[in-house]
Symmetry: C2
Subunit: 180 residues, 2 copies
């Protein structure tokens, strides 16, 4: 019997099937007899990569995020394509968004970004041995600008909370002892 089978689920239904996400609802049954509902967003898993040169310059991207109504500076990131490996997706997103192809990848961590209501997992990589190919390619509805800064500047932005997405914050903290 699986560890958590006591959290019985019933009456799962799909509320919305969209382009980027779908929404599902279900009843849950707790061990003590209580009942509740859960509304769960299904999204594809994603990857993000901190691409850094030998001189400790980081290639970031600036874009407007409609969900939070703000322009944010972030490490390159994107959704996994169907049957694509995490590493292939990280290399692809890095090249598409910055024009730099990383020849060396190091996996940093995998985490659930909104475990309360979303299925989505994010995997972070460090990307080094960067080759400039210039092969940028935005997704159909992306509008992205490059931002290239020394790691120390990025770390200061993180410490000042001028960076405020989980993937950039986490990746900077995970490698700061090597580059700061």
């Amino acid at each position: 019997m699986p560890e958590d089978s006591f959290q019985h689920v019933s009456d799962k239904c799909t509320l919305y099937q969209g382009s980027y996400l779908s929404l599902h609802k279900m009843n849950i049954h707790l061990p003590d007899g209580r009942k509740g509902i859960r509304e769960i967003v299904h999204v594809r898993d994603s990857v993000a990569i901190l691409p850094i040169t030998e001189d400790s310059v980081v290639h970031l991207v600036k874009q407007y995020r409609h969900a939070v109504e703000k322009t944010m500076i972030e490490i390159p990131a994107g959704l996994l394509d169907q049957e694509e490996s995490l590493k292939d997706a990280a290399v692809r997103e890095c090249e598409e968004e910055t024009g730099y192809r990383p020849h060396k990848l190091e996996k940093l961590i995998t985490y659930a970004h909104a475990e309360g209501y979303s299925t989505g997992f994010m995997t972070l990589f460090l990307g080094t041995d960067l080759e400039f190919t210039g092969k940028t390619h935005m997704d159909a509805t992306e509008h992205i600008e490059p931002v290239n800064v020394p790691f120390k500047t990025l770390l200061r932005w993180v410490q000042e909370n001028r960076i405020y997405d989980s993937k950039t914050l986490l990746s900077v903290h995970l490698v700061k002892n090597r580059y700061a």
Copy 2:
């Protein structure tokens, strides 16, 4: 004119209005004339708190997360109640989930947890000067178990990626130089 007004939005509509979240859809118009859609989940903002004793013991909670179908060990967290301040919410959630009331709070950071499709912001606190009140109080559909471990153990779990929610990962990295 606001900085990002070039990202014009039209035809906003509500697809679903639920108990914990609502789902909205809109058209976006990019500077170069391209159009796209965005599906955006509206959730209440949330807080999380890393409560730590003078002996560097951390009070964590273990719970089954239906969205990711896993049992996770996390720092206490929850949604803001209506008109509640971030600090009041952090104190309340800490006491409700662990039975310990923090008398000192330090704000660590605020971040968007799923900037691609969700409005939600999370604010992290460090909680010290803990008083045991025993006043635990689960939300109507919560089932939570306490997990109390030395900070060093928690740091090891983080390094081994046995912890994998953004709030616990980030808060541990933000204070590790003080407690490890």
